[in-house]
Amino acid sequence: MTEQKKTTIVLFSGDYDKVMAAYIIANGAAAFDHEVTIFHTFWGLNALRKDENVPVKKGFMEKMFGKMMPRGANKMGLSKMNFAGMGPKMIKDIIKKHNAVPLPQLIEMAQEQEVKLVACTMTMDLLGLQKEELLEDIEYAGVAAYLSDAQEGNVNLFI
């Protein structure tokens, strides 16, 4: 087989639909035997949040951010037709009906397929997210680590 190809995705968005698209591409690329990296920054970091409350020491602003942002992928809203939370409920029903894979399982599957999940540490600081609040087995890095993957990448996406 030829040399392993690389797919890198910058996941900036924190909407259920956009994150789902990113993880479908990531899982597909992993099935293509690519080395896959998803670099989570800004709102995309919420995809890596654990769904339970993790008691960590935080300042007032960080606490507010933590409360206002979705705690985990399953609590995300839609980028369109969110309808104050009704949209995600509807789309989850439709996902079930069509036997598509819901987002939390897509993330699990990506981890099983050894997709490298990276959290951007600079935006973690901005949004007040701490390592304890994020999933296990992820990596922490900045722009240089992303670029070193992306410059050898065959597929580079910003979602």
Binding site: T2, I24, N27, A30, A31, F32, N99, A100, V101, M109
Partner: protein, 76 residues
């Protein structure tokens, strides 16, 4: 009818599951063996053709019967 060493039933599953499962199933085969994949995802024809080409395996044949797509992929 083509002979397969293993049959993967991916009916009812939608993107990206058919290729994710195909890849897993192919990992368990020896070179030269054939995997038969069943899918009802109408995108599977393009997807599995592309996957076989990119992964260096050979799509020997495919058939469509009443919405059920069947593929035979030989591991190289």
């Amino acid at each position: 009818m083509m002979k397969a060493n293993k049959v993967l039933d991916a009916t009812g599953l939608s993107c990206p599951m058919p290729i994710v499962k195909t890849k897993k199933a192919m990992n368990e085969l020896e070179p030269g063996q054939v995997l038969e994949v069943h899918s009802t995802d109408q995108g599977a024809k393009s997807d599995l053709t592309a996957w076989a080409k990119s992964s260096g395996n050979e799509l020997l044949d495919h058939k469509e019967d009443n919405g059920l797509l069947k593929f035979w992929i030989k591991k190289n």
